[in-house]
């Protein structure tokens, strides 16, 4: 998956990312729950800019994975994304305590004793070429570039050097 970059000052809280994420999930999973908008895997906290965009960065040595006592959070086999198996989540809040981006979101679940709350988080849109939130973000507050390990350095380096050269000539 591409690396996700977040630039909070650019966010206008337009909410397109939330709709894209939730609608995309609803379409992909076929679960057209009336509360689909609540199913977005990221959150944008307002009420006014500057926003706090709560989105998983899919860290390579993810503290949430270290802390997950139930092994519900793991780096997936390809090593690209931090994936969540919500059926294993026991709602212990360890990941919430660890994540410096407050990306884990609490979701109430009914039934099952002791699992009143489980965690939801970005799955990196693994089945899509580009994460939906980044694809629809009009201001560049959420960007996806490169791959997880080389991130966006390559393009940035080229652009920066290109600008320098332009000034040079």
């Amino acid at each position: 998956m591409p690396a996700l970059g977040v630039n909070e000052p650019a966010c206008t809280l337009c909410g397109r990312c939330l709709v894209a994420c939730a609608a995309g999930r609803a379409v992909l999973t076929g679960a057209l729950d009336p509360a689909w908008l609540e199913q977005s895997l990221l959150r944008v906290d307002g009420p006014a800019p500057p926003a706090h965009i709560r989105l998983c960065r899919h860290c390579l040595t993810a503290p949430c994975v270290d802390a997950c006592v139930a092994r519900a959070l793991r780096r997936d086999a390809a090593g690209d994304a931090v994936s969540l198996d919500s059926s294993r989540c026991v709602g212990c809040y360890s990941c919430v305590m660890e994540c410096p981006f407050s990306a884990p979101l609490a979701r109430a679940v009914s039934g099952n004793a002791g699992r009143g709350t489980v965690i939801a988080k970005c799955d990196g849109c693994a089945q899509l070429p580009e994460p939906l939130c980044a694809a629809v973000c009009p201001t560049g507050a959420i960007r996806a570039a490169g791959d997880a390990r080389s991130a966006s350095s390559r393009a940035r380096r080229r652009r920066a050097v290109g600008l320098g050269l332009a000034g040079h000539r």
Binding site: A62, S150, S153, R157, A160, L165
Partner: protein, 163 residues
């Protein structure tokens, strides 16, 4: 303390990649541009190459963006260090760096950033054309100032400069 950094004179660069080889050997014991802290940007259609490396910003945005304080500096030389055990591989530094000169190590997943090789950068030593130099900012500016004015005088003497 005034910070030294590896200054790049793009006009002298031939694109030979010796800087990348020197850097990867110094830090990793092998030859691999991917593992180098200095990276060449090539514009091959025009035969142009420019090395890009950490500019040692006065206000390093990469460090500000790091949620775990994984960057540190050598108190004596100011050289950047990466506290790898603190790094969680979130890529915030990569995204923050406007020059694109922080990449993540493909095995360790931690940022690779120029550390000036304990004050004697391997890339500078192996650069065959002098395109790279370890300099103080003030020295780099002084040299540039003189070079530009020398060129002006030459041009004026050749009758090419009006005023």
């Amino acid at each position: 303390m005034e910070q030294r950094f590896v200054n790049v004179d793009a006009k002298l660069c031939t694109g030979c990649a010796m800087c990348e080889l020197a850097c990867s050997y110094h830090h990793e014991g092998c030859y691999s541009p991917r593992l180098s802290r200095v990276r060449l940007v090539r514009f091959e259609d025009r035969g142009f190459s420019v090395p890009a490396t950490c500019a040692y910003c006065e206000r390093p945005i990469c460090e500000e963006a790091c949620p775990t304080a994984a960057f540190a500096h050598d108190p004596a030389t100011g050289a950047a260090r990466v506290h790898e055990a603190r790094c969680i591989g979130c890529k915030e530094c990569v995204n923050a760096c406007p020059l694109g000169v922080i990449d993540l190590h493909p095995v360790h997943g931690t940022p690779m950033r120029c550390d000036l090789c304990d004050g004697d950068p391997a890339c500078v030593k192996l650069c065959p054309t002098g395109a790279l130099a370890l300099q103080l900012v003030s020295d780099a500016v002084r040299d540039k100032r003189r070079a530009v004015q020398t060129a002006r005088i030459r041009l004026a003497e050749a009758g090419g400069l009006e005023s």
